[in-house]
Symmetry: C2
Subunit: 316 residues, 2 copies
């Protein structure tokens, strides 16, 4: 027995995170094949596409075609990411699950570089989204605070700034009478360490004892799974992750980039500790191997290469 | 502030662990170049070679030449690994630091496959080593229990078996009047998870409250750094690790193999949490990149590709 959560909820981010950064693009049919395979694993939400400038992210130029081609499995939500109202309007026209969210960035500089908007402009943009959600009767589920641990332009993110951003997100949700499921903290560029994770989660829990917290952790510097464990110990049961560790890339132009923590490694660690996920580990491993085949290079996931312990134990 | 240790001691295992499994062998001069570079990082002990059957491990056929070619830096210990008395006798003839140890394997089957000796025969062999240590006035420093978490032949290792093996190692050391520094548990094939780590360390601490514990953790299934963090939280301050994550291998013949936790990722995580190591992170990253250059393929280490946060913070 332990105080760890009994169940961990996973949002699969690999198809979007991975495809948008991979140097080699895939045909629509292969993208859909990966998404549909992941949908068979038991994961309940898959981020499939982003609606972004195709000049900046050419691999997502076919986002509409991908969204339309998915053979949807009942019970699974197929989501997309947008960074502005045009993207949101595009998503609304497609057979996607448009899940309302409030997305802000703790680092002003990162916000400007990533979305061409500073923090105040971001909140103004979020109000437009909130209006659109209301007009379309879309529930807002989570608030996201990006670069909540640090960023490459502003360095370590003060905890006070993160608390302030969370407060403003909660206020905005309340103003629109949208009760959030909780707040996601994103370690966008790999600043988190387990001790800092405990400090930040502690600060949030101290101010909002009953608020659910989700984590979007890029494993840029090898601490991803340790950060997950630190968070599990503090009761966090909601994670984004990326099949095969998609999102990292071995090519020079993205040399330092790294994907979210790897889905099947996360699932393996949870199951080994007696935490359920509803994800079929063997099927997720097969998806990771499919991703490796489709993209044609070795992926950073570990369990996908070593295999789970199921067959090892069966043989003993 | 935290209850984490203030200082972590690292034994570098990469040159031995990595070179013995890499499909492409290196000339002696390149092996020595890597070892000498690692010696400049502040690491105090480097495992350089193993004395094993060259038919089974052809890359170690030149172990004697490597040991002789190292330009030794004062204050650094250059060690080797042997699996039998012949290997130990060989090591004694070389300019290596012969560090006494007791090495047993909790899994009888793994012991037989790896060393052609069952557990009783292993203890008999250890007595021969103890005699040689005594004859050469060599102190015995650590007892090692391999497959202390599980093995591919016998599955999960019962905690009672691990406790029994530790007791027998301690008894043997006491019989020879060799006070051990402590006991190393090795997760030889990647069975450990953080919760199980806490359970096993707890069982050892409960029986031997003052015994130092070291860990040799292969990151076979992605839980390596989470296991390290679980152990740090319980006060463990002694780890083996492998520069660049050497020991893993992307080639089919060793598809599932994986090296120890990656040295520079471990050092990065420690430093970020305020734990000293005396290792210069930037120099260790340079060693990892040297290893990648020498072996000619991408290594699993993360910080070596992303860079540390030092330059990021300096720029902010």
């Amino acid at each position: 027995m332990s105080d760890l959560p009994k169940f961990v909820h996973i949002h699969e981010e690999g198809p979007r995170e991975g495809i948008q950064i991979e140097p080699r693009n895939l045909p629509v049919s292969d993208k859909v094949r990966l998404i549909e395979a992941v949908a068979e694993t038991g994961v309940k939400q898959i981020d499939c596409v982003s609606f972004v400038n195709p000049k900046r992210v050419p691999n997502m130029a076919d986002a509409d075609a991908v969204a339309r081609a998915i053979n949807r499995k009942p019970g699974v939500r197929y989501t997309g990411l947008w960074l502005n109202t045009q993207g949101l309007e595009r998503a609304l026209q497609l057979p996607l699950d448009v899940v309302g969210s409030i997305r802000v960035t703790a680092s002003e500089t990162f916000s400007i570089k990533n979305t061409s908007r500073n923090i105040e402009e971001t909140f103004a943009e979020q109000r437009k989204w909130m209006d659109i959600y209301r007009a379309n009767r879309i529930a807002v589920e989570w608030g996201y605070v990006m670069t909540a641990f640090g960023c490459n332009y502003e360095g370590d993110m003060p905890v006070s700034r993160v608390l302030d951003m969370v407060q403003r997100v909660l206020d905005l949700a309340a103003e629109y009478d949208q009760p959030l499921k909780g707040i996601y903290l994103a370690d966008t560029v790999g600043y988190a360490n387990p001790l800092d994770m405990e400090r930040r989660l502690g600060a949030l829990r101290s101010r909002w004892p009953d608020m659910k917290i989700g984590l979007h952790l890029h494993d840029t510097r090898g601490t991803g799974m340790a950060n997950v464990y630190a968070a599990l110990r503090m009761g966090v049961d909601q994670f984004d992750s990326s099949v095969a560790g998609l999102g990292g890339c071995p090519f020079a132009e993205h040399k330092g980039a790294a994907g979210n923590v790897c889905t099947e490694d996360l699932v393996f660690m949870c199951h080994e500790m007696g935490i359920e996920t509803d994800v079929d580990l063997e099927k997720m491993i097969a998806c990771a191997r499919l991703a490796e085949d489709l993209f044609g290079h070795r992926m950073p996931g570990k369990v996908m290469h070593a295999g789970s312990l199921k067959n090892m134990r069966r043989a003993t």
